[in-house]
Amino acid sequence: MAVVNMVQALNMALRQEMEKDPSVLVLGEDVGVNGGVFRVTEGLLERFGGERVMDTPLSECGIVGAAIGMAAFGFLPVAEIQFMGFIYGAFDQLASHASRLRARSRGRFSCPLVIRTPYGAGIKAIELHSESTEALFAHIPGLKVVVPSGPASAKGLLTSAIRDPDPVLFLEPARLYRMIKEEVPEGPYTIPIGRARMARKGRGLTIISWGSMLQKTMKAAEGFDADVIDLQSLSPWDEEAVMASVKKTGRAVIVQEAPRTCGFASEIAACLAEEAIAYLRAPVMRVAAYDVVMPLARLEDFYMPGIGTIRKTIEEALKY
């Protein structure tokens, strides 16, 4: 076990998978010589050379599009989009191609590709560097969406994503890159995609979160008798774990960083309203950002759901 932060954990996963399987490639803007603007790909170019670690032009559509071609041709590309706010140039490639190649070719071709991208607020960045738009991608059949919440889950989930036979969007909470350090196994390991992690056990309430909000959620949950579920995967997501917990506790609070309307929390709440309503003792409550254009750095702390709001919502849910 090594005590590492998320950047290091991700780097370990990439390095180990590249060691293990020569078909794993890394490509993107500044991923080579510079080691990535967050240093997630640091040292890979030196270790694996320019044919496996490709600095690309500034070309999100080209990066993802070319990665699709490489994936169809037998490679396992891990493409980096420098910030999630710049993924939209590749949206068509993801929605119309990566996610559909297997279906369209009836399995003759497939698209085992990973798109890594940092997301989320809290790093006082300039505009478009801080949004959380995971729900957009979870609505695309054929695309998997995975979001780690700490170094250990980051390494295990990225390893799974690379080995997954289908395209995976892998969202890295930028605020947590260097914030949390934890023990992470030295060797390769996987965490199954589509399965949640019970981050804490309790009886009176279920709190569901993922990625960037998990750490705040854990803090907010202190002192409450609550299950805290770290979803880990949004598509597919672990409905069974969530249902089992809510049926047990009768109360659900869902915490997301994205604006409320049509966020991923809505999907969870909808499933609960459909399948667990008889067990619900309180309204299903969502903690989310406001439905406004995200402000710049000086207001981001007001915009992001905070520990205070989460606690208040928990207390509210417990009133029922």
Partner: protein, 356 residues
């Protein structure tokens, strides 16, 4: 201190076979009589398929279909230049390419009747599924080509698209990446002068499409797209260069879409019959046929036999498609992911319990 010229460029156009069926011997590519017959046969079969598909569509037995009439030379001759090991990335108007490389015809019928099983490319071919979203498949060809290069294989990717496709960002990003990575890819634009109702002059202010390659640091050439020999020669040279590690090329085939955009379109709304007539006279099949007759490569017998063979091949292919029948609804639940998710399982069960 000066105002000086720092780079000069020229764009060339290749023509070998004229409208009277005369070939420029000096430029003629090395093709045997059998090769020429081979191309001719594919062109003829492509046209026969096209006519059949249009008829079947009118009869309500096929879905919306995009005719290739007039573009047979650009398609068959370029595809003929490809090796079996090259990978082909078609748009929705490449029936002639698919037919030339031997894509099963009953599967083309399946596809155009709305059955995705037609897009499952047989294992011995490397033809990507048809791309409907204009120009978005170009990056895939570049990625595949980079992959070939990484594997040090002597292969190339060939990607087909229209004049309208040159306006899209995907075109640009793909061309640019191909240039930077010196990817073994051949970009073939079938400039058929129209993107539905939008004429080339509304698509670009550039004099030629071929010159667009200059922006990416690799060669572009214009060829008479109704001239099998020019197309074959340009494609073959570009493919060899690609396989030899000399990077990408761009070929603009100047041709024309004789039919409507698709069976859902009515081109008389936006273009003059005169223009269509002008291009009909440049028919690529007629032109090659005249050449072959002059060269003694084609007899009436051969022609008749071909036509009969094509008709019965089409009959048989369509019958096969009908025999196979429509896709079972369960097809819908296969292949979104390699392993169905729990949600898909639930939905499939609920479907079996009576969905729709």
């Amino acid at each position: 201190m000066a105002e000086k010229t720092i780079a000069t460029f020229e764009v060339r156009r290749l023509e070998i076979l004229d409208e009277e069926g005369n070939a420029d011997k000096a430029l003629m590519p090395s093709l045997t009589g059998d090769d020429i017959r081979g191309i001719y046969e594919k062109m003829l079969l492509s046209r026969a398929f096209d006519e059949r598909a249009l008829r079947l569509q009118r009869e309500g037995r096929l879905g919306t279909y995009a005719s290739i009439r007039g573009q047979e030379a650009a398609q068959a001759a370029s595809a003929f230049a490809a090796e079996k090991s090259d990978w082909i990335f078609p748009s929705f108007r490449e029936t002639g390419v698919q037919i030339t490389v031997g894509y099963p015809i009953f599967m083309l019928f399946q596809y155009w009747s709305g059955d995705e099983r037609g897009m499952k490319c047989p294992d011995d071919l490397s033809v990507f599924p048809i791309c409907i979203s204009v120009s978005t498949h170009l990056p895939h060809a570049v990625g595949a080509a980079i992959a070939m290069k990484l594997k040090k294989q002597k292969k190339a990717a060939i990607v087909y698209f229209g004049d309208g496709a040159t306006s899209k960002g995907d075109f640009h990003e793909a061309f640019n990446m191909a240039g930077v990575f010196k990817a073994p890819v051949v970009f073939i634009c079938q400039n058929n002068q129209w993107a539905i109702s939008v004429p080339l002059s509304r698509q670009t202010a550039a004099r030629t499409l071929a010159q667009k390659a200059l922006a990416y640091g690799f060669p572009g050439i214009q060829v008479d797209g109704n001239d099998v020999f020019a197309v074959y020669r340009a494609a073959s040279e570009a493919l060899h260069k690609a396989r030899d590690g000399e990077g990408p090329s761009f070929i603009e085939c100047q041709t024309y879409r004789i039919s409507d955009h698709t069976t859902a379109d009515d081109s008389s709304r936006y273009r003059p019959a005169r223009e269509v007539e002008y291009w009909r006279a440049k028919d690529p099949i007629k032109r090659l046929k005249t050449y072959m007759e002059k060269e003694g490569l084609l007899t009436e017998d051969y022609q008749r036999q071909l036509e009969e063979k094509n008709e019965s091949a089409l009959d048989e292919a369509f019958r096969k498609m009908e025999e196979i029948g429509p896709p079972p609804p369960s097809e819908m639940f296969a292949r979104t992911f390699k392993e169905p998710t729990r949600r898909e399982d639930i939905e499939m069960r609920s479907f079996v319990d009576g969905g729709g």
